[in-house]
């Protein structure tokens, strides 16, 4: 079986400007949503308490809310979580309130109202811990970006590193934009997913770049856009199949993983879809705009003339 019987080189670069404009618009939209709506941070970042309670029969969110309000808990958000039987109660940090008794009191309140309330999970994060987690997350993103640029600069050239990281940070912003637009909860696992996607889709760019370098050597008379077109066409089959297999896993996670893995899988899904697009159709035009040309690889070739199979090729 073979899905991609591509006999001709597809002229991707002819439409480079179109792709870049699409990217720019999506990117600006994502930035716009991030700026206006902001991310809906989970309790891990903001600090506060989350209590998951399960009922044997459907949970009555309004009654729970009423019971909590009567008990004097203000600003609590009560919503169904995963199924109609599970409820998630979010409570903000209150100065001077001890975390130790809060969850106990809440569950006592709920059990007084309905005996079937079963405590499933409590998560309390103090304000300081939340701030540290946010800082460490930002730091991790920075380190990953620098590490990848450095690696690609060593493996290829700084222009490749720069275009790959721009293309893939653009993915990250778009994932975050989705989370801002739909106000999905941005939690630590989502952050992990975002960073995993960053590492994952950069290797996509690497595969294309490997081919670009190889084609510069092979296609002596071709122009830069033709070289890039040939590279993308040559790798597109592998790109789709690889991402497809990863997406199969992520989709099963989305279906079977339950609410705990829902946003994690969602972030991966967006990341994988935009990863294909950006590494192929954003990174490569960027490479073109940065004026990569054959002369850079003649040098590379001279330095490594003894091994023409050097580097990765697909």
């Amino acid at each position: 079986m073979e899905f991609f019987k591509i006999r001709r080189t597809i002229p991707f670069m002819r439409h480079a400007l179109v792709f870049n404009i699409i990217s720019l618009i999506t990117f600006l939209l994502a930035v716009f949503f991030l700026a206006t709506k902001g991310l809906h941070y989970s309790v891990e970042f903001t600090g506060g308490t989350v209590i998951e309670v399960s009922y044997k029969e459907g949970a009555d969110v309004d009654r729970i809310r009423g019971a909590l309000e009567k008990a004097g808990y203000k600003d609590t958000a009560v919503q169904n979580f995963g199924s109609s039987r599970d409820v998630l109660i979010r409570m903000p940090l209150v100065q001077g309130q001890s975390s130790a008794d809060l969850s106990q009191k809440v569950i006592a309140t709920l059990q007084a109202e309905n005996k079937e309330a079963e405590l499933r999970r409590v998560e309390f994060v103090g304000p300081q811990v939340g701030r540290e987690l946010a800082e460490n997350g930002a730091l991790a993103l920075l380190i990953v970006s620098i590490g990848i640029v450095l690696y690609l600069a060593l493996r290829f050239e700084w222009k490749f590193g720069l275009s790959a990281i721009i293309a893939n940070l653009h993915d990250v912003i778009i994932i975050l934009g989705f989370f801002a637009l739909f106000q999905w909860e941005f939690s630590l696992p989502v952050l992990a997913a975002v960073l995993a996607v960053l590492g994952y889709s950069v290797n996509e760019s690497v595969v294309v770049f490997d081919r670009v370098r190889e084609n510069f050597r092979k296609m002596r008379k071709a122009s830069t856009p033709e070289v890039i077109d040939a590279a993308i066409t040559g790798t597109i089959s592998r790109t789709i199949i690889t991402h497809g297999s990863t997406q199969i896993m992520v989709t099963t996670m989305l279906i079977f993983g339950g609410p705990a893995l829902h946003y994690f899988a969602l972030a991966l899904t967006i990341g994988i879809c935009f990863g294909i697009y950006s590494s192929v159709l954003v990174a490569s035009p960027l490479l073109m705009w940065l004026k990569v040309d054959r002369s850079q690889f003649v040098k590379v070739k001279k330095a490594r003339s003894d091994d023409e199979n050097d580097g990765a090729v697909v």
């Binding site: 199969i248 992520v250 994690f264």
Partner: protein
């Protein structure tokens, strides 16, 4: 060209066999068990304890499937939870005749039912995180400021007693913020005092100053002493937590330092979170102070009750309801107290509490009691800034040697309670819960099931797709992917790395990404064939040329994984550990294991007409 030397096949076979071996314990499940460990430092768990526990069960005809002494604990396995509960009661009765003062912690636990020969080679099931097995996780922040303040208070006390010993007159020692100020009437006394304090208390740095008629000596605590105090406070608190948690009877508690001033406490399987928090949250510390009897009379007490407390004292109400005025000056703090046990007075047979003080504590106590025979002292429990007088006994005589007995007017229960409060109260610095995660057991089970299901279905879907799309080569890729899963689980079991729900997600994701390597190889082989290469040459070239790309892609992914490992905490770290390990195992399985299989299938045939790698005939 597509043949491995025999040692390479052997290597693959051995690695796969080891993978099986170390994955094996995960399939045996768990059986209910009772675990006996020591509740006190002085009590050792040895073969004698095992024997006593076995005797107790045999006498009551309770069957057990295994009993063993494992390190510092005795573990006994049972057929079902009913027997387990019954056995726990029997063992508790046999080992702890006095329930108020237990020597052993007898806890319910789940132990792997894998055979002993597996355990003997260190093959254990994966260590499940709290989100999978249920339990409580706390992150406690130690109030280091308070630890240093307390240390300063006690240093001020030391200075006071040293100046008194040397008969140096001063007009007051006070702690002001983070400094101690000593006032003198003349420079001569100050000079003498300076020498005494410098010789006697190495932790203080002294500076002189003068304000009008007043000569001052200002002492600050040295930075290295601050550090030592903080380290000590953390260690002391960890020890105290160990003792407190022993009361809970948790089988495998984790109590660890995290960073400079935090303590992680994990109590797997704990259902009674209220009690756990209650015990941990008891952020109490002890202080011994003198009762201000000179100024304590009906009038001052009445005034104090209204809020007009005489200067330098504090107003408290004793447990029996009697009001009392206590001096602010601290004689001893709880960290000087090494033990407190309930017991009886050897002469009168009255219930009593026996305290043991450490060396400096004993010296201070001797001085204080010598000067205050007939007076009362108060033992206060300070909890979150609020004090409570536990007991306020009369000092009958000078007490040396650090052994203190408090007796009179108390019942056995009161003696027990007081001893427990005194013991549990010996935290070196207050702590606060800054993070808490409680996972109920039902959620833990759900999480395992959900994580397992998504991995299973995702894996099957990939196997089906690969086998259809790449035929025999797809099947080989799938076997390599299965080997990857095997290695990953074996490695996680071997390292006993904590597996969490994000960790299971990472297993699934890593499998999805690992297949990338095989896709790269298979696509490359197809391309070689389309380019006119012979089947054998195509295999060889495909594997060789794809390797560079596989390495590149794994390294970029690994960069992200390592950053997550370094900066991540909690769920992110659980994800990162598995992700990084998975990337490394996938390198071996996708390249070496699949190549070994391909070589076995094709490399030894004399003539290969066609590779079963799907449709390559077009073009």
């Amino acid at each position: 060209m597509n043949r491995f030397p025999t040692w390479k096949y052997a290597l693959v076979a051995i690695v796969v066999a080891l993978g099986f071996l170390y994955t094996l314990p995960n399939f045996f499940g768990e059986s209910p068990a009772v675990q006996v460990s020591s509740a006190r430092v002085t009590v050792k768990v040895d073969a004698g304890v095992l024997g006593r526990a076995e005797d107790a069960l045999k006498k009551a005809n309770v069957a057990y499937s295994a009993a063993a002494l494992d390190g510092a604990s005795v573990r006994m396995r049972f057929a079902d939870t009913d027997t387990q509960l019954k056995a726990k009661d029997l063992i508790t009765q046999a080992l702890n005749p006095d329930p108020a003062n237990p020597s052993y912690v007898v806890a319910l636990n789940l132990l792997s039912s894998s055979p002993t020969w597996l355990t003997a080679i260190n093959a254990l099931p994966m260590y499940l995180g709290l989100d999978l097995r249920g339990g409580v996780h706390f992150l406690l922040q130690v109030d280091m400021q308070a630890a240093v303040t307390k240390r300063l208070e006690s240093l001020a006390g030391d200075a006071r007693s040293q100046l008194r010993d040397k008969n140096i007159r001063h007009s007051g020692i006070t702690r002001e913020g983070q400094t101690i100020r000593v006032r003198f009437r003349d420079a001569d006394a100050r000079e003498k005092a300076k020498r005494v304090i410098q010789d006697g208390i190495a932790d203080l740095a002294l500076t002189e100053s003068q304000d009008g008629e007043e000569f001052r000596l200002t002492a600050t605590i040295k930075p290295e002493a601050v550090k030592r105090t903080q380290d000590y406070a953390l260690k002391q608190n960890i020890t105290t937590l160990h003792n407190r948690i022993n009361e809970l009877g948790v089988a495998e508690p984790v109590i660890q330092q995290q960073g400079a001033d935090r303590i992680v406490v994990q109590l797997p399987g704990v259902q009674d979170t209220a009690k756990a928090k209650d015990i941990l949250g008891r952020t109490a510390s002890l202080e011994i102070r003198m009762v201000d009897e000179e100024r304590m009379n009906a009038d001052t007490l009445a005034a104090a009750a209204r809020g007009e407390v005489p200067f330098g004292t504090e107003y408290y109400v004793e447990r029996n309801g009697a009001p009392i005025l206590v001096r602010k000056q601290v004689v001893l703090t709880g960290d000087r107290l090494t033990d407190a046990q309930p017991g009886f007075d050897s002469q009168t047979q009255e219930p009593a509490v026996h305290l043991t003080l450490d060396g400096p504590g004993a010296r201070i106590f001797k001085d204080v009691t010598r000067e205050s025979v007939g007076k009362r002292m108060a033992i206060l429990l300070i909890e979150k800034g609020r004090g409570e007088v536990i007991t306020a006994p009369v000092i009958r005589s000078e007490i040396g040697g650090g052994r203190v007995q408090i007796s009179g007017r108390m019942s056995t229960t009161e003696a027990n309670d007081t001893a427990l409060l005194l013991r549990a109260g010996s935290l070196a610095a207050p702590m606060e819960i800054v993070e808490e995660r409680t996972v109920g057991p039902s959620l833990g089970k759900d999480n395992i099931e959900k994580g397992f299901n998504s991995t299973k279905w995702g894996f099957l879907a990939i196997v089906v797709f690969m086998s259809v799309y790449y035929a025999i080569f797809g099947l080989i890729s799938s076997v390599a992917l299965a080997a990857n899963l095997l290695f990953l689980v074996a490695l996680l079991s071997l390292l006993q790395a904590t597996l969490t729900l994000p960790g299971i997600a990472a297993i699934a994701l890593t499998l999805g990404m690992a297949i990338d390597a095989n896709v790269l190889i298979n696509e490359r082989i197809r391309e070689e064939i389309r380019g006119g290469a012979t089947p054998q040459a195509a295999i060889s070239a495909g594997y060789e040329r794809a390797f560079g790309t596989i390495l590149d892609s794994n390294i970029t992914t690994l960069i992200a994984g390592l950053a997550l490992l370094i900066f991540g905490s909690g769920p992110v770290r659980g994800f990162a550990v598995v992700h990084c390990l998975g990337i490394m195992t996938s390198m071996f399985s996708a390249v070496t294991v699949s190549r070994a299989l391909v070589n076995l299938a094709y490399g030894h045939r004399r003539r290969v007409q066609k590779l079963s790698i799907g449709d390559t005939a077009w073009k």
